[in-house]
Amino acid sequence: MSAAAFSPSPALPAPAGAPRSVVVVGAGPAGLTAAVELAERDVRVTVLEARERVGGRTRGIEVAPGRWIDAGAAYLGDRHTELHALLAACDLKTAPTEMTGAARFALGADGGAAATVEGRFPPLNAVALGDLFEQLEELAATVRPDAPWLTPDAERLDALTAADWAERQLPHPDARLFFPLFLGEMMAADPAKVSVLHMAFYLRSGGGLRYLNAFAGGAQQDRVAGGAHRLSERLARRLLAAGGVLRTAEPVLSVEQSDGEVTVRTPEGSYRAEAAVVAVPPLLADAIEYRPGLPVRRAGARTGRGCAVKLHLVFPEPVWRAHGLSGWSVNAAGPLLSTVDDTPPEGSPGVLTGFVTGAEAHRFAALPPAEQRAAAVAQARRLFPLLPEPVAFHVTDWVNEPWSRGCYAALFGPGDWSALGPTLTAPHGRVRFAGTETSTAFFGLLEGAVRSGRRVAAELLGD
């Protein structure tokens, strides 16, 4: 379907076989994309959202009047075509990410002194890192991108963890040091908690190592002007304009099917429709009670939470730029395993975003707020010695967020792809599943979420 087909123009009626009413569970980008496509084709749509806001794993923070930064998903690239089309159809613009100047790297064993290096290349043995990337690229190339569980040798790749793999395959200490930092950045994963198959799939699904890692020319080329959360806000507005209903603060408890209809229950009431779309992350989809029960669960015992805590240190100006620094850093010790300049396009206030990922995210999330702030500010000022005390400090703990249970995306542990993969997009009677984790293209990204919403709407409309 073209972008033009998904514009707020007067709607075609839904085809005869389509359900006349649909309940959508989850008002993130996936659920709202599906909801709007259905509502604009004259389907009666009710969206139920557990939180008091829309947006799911996107959320905006207003750092100055009218200036927003992203506490959750933020970036997109040219290959994210469905997201670009949807943003355009919602009258939203993108702004390029900026990355000029030198990077800082604190990669010593003690996490101590930092080195200043032009570009983004860490001061480690280049041949050893190249060996790591050659092996990862080769692994990613073996994956069946549309059906990772059918990859040759899938059983073995799904049984091993990424940490097991690194232990066997990475003889050089620099590669061993960099690998968990890289995996943390790419997929917010602790290597001990994801299967090799999931790692290889994720890298392949996102467009390969270079594309996933790059800012200009890659998956971090642009941001949504005004914040990625605005996409869900605009979609919610379109849903209401098309006669849809959005009910927030209503967590779904159960989804029951009988006599040709679906009943979705929340603490506030029950909602009947001819079909339902469950568009929440796998761990949350699995926590809903289904009657009749699911033949295959939505998450396994080893399905993990994406381990990301996002920090924002706000300063009057991005002072690092005046000293020739980009704000980019990669560090062996936490909490700030990497930092990036997220100053709004207007140029102020200066925003340094810190990523606390992998195992470090769990440790940091357990600290009292005052200790979180003290540790993050002290490390930022070691990396960028001219920084003043921040005027604001924000912690967004996605790991323990009850209505996300992790971010960027669910982490498939050993055995998960073999068990869950074949039914990832399979309907359960009148219930269908969406969400970025149901998209084999751009899994875990905003683009995957939008694609999953469009897929499920197209299935229901019989397109």
């Binding site: 570009g119 983004r120 290349f121 280049a126 041949v127 050893a128 890192l129 190249g130 060996d131 990337f133 050659e134 092996q135 690229e137 080769e138 040798d153 073995r156 790749l157 091993l160 793999w165 066997r168 395959q169 990475l170 003889p171 050089h172 090799v196 190592l209 270079r210 890692n213 790059a214 020319g217």
Partner: protein, 96 residues
């Protein structure tokens, strides 16, 4: 590479460096592979052809594996073309 194969063997056990046109062909093939391009000229600049520092390390890994020469990232930056890299590999191999 299967999971059971050992990691890249130490560079000293790699075959001796090729020379002249064979070396240039070999390095051009590495550029083509990692840049996913059908054609790369001998004077093609790696970064203008879409390469970045991450992909550059893959070239250095391939050079170490195939030609037994470990170059640094800065050495690659000095002349990031197949011809420039061939000259560097030849010079390092000759100095041993």
């Amino acid at each position: 590479m299967s999971l059971d194969t050992p990691a890249v063997p130490p560079a000293t056990t790699a075959p001796p460096a090729l020379s002249g046109p064979e070396l240039l062909d070999s390095l051009t093939a590495v550029f083509r592979r990692v840049l996913e391009l059908a054609e790369v000229p001998a004077d093609g600049n790696f970064f203008l052809l879409g390469g970045d520092s991450l992909v550059a390390t893959r070239v250095l890994s391939a050079v170490a594996r195939t030609h037994g020469v470990e170059l640094t990232f800065d050495e690659f930056l000095a002349d990031p073309t197949p011809a420039g890299l061939a000259a560097r590999v030849t010079a390092v191999a000759a100095a041993r």
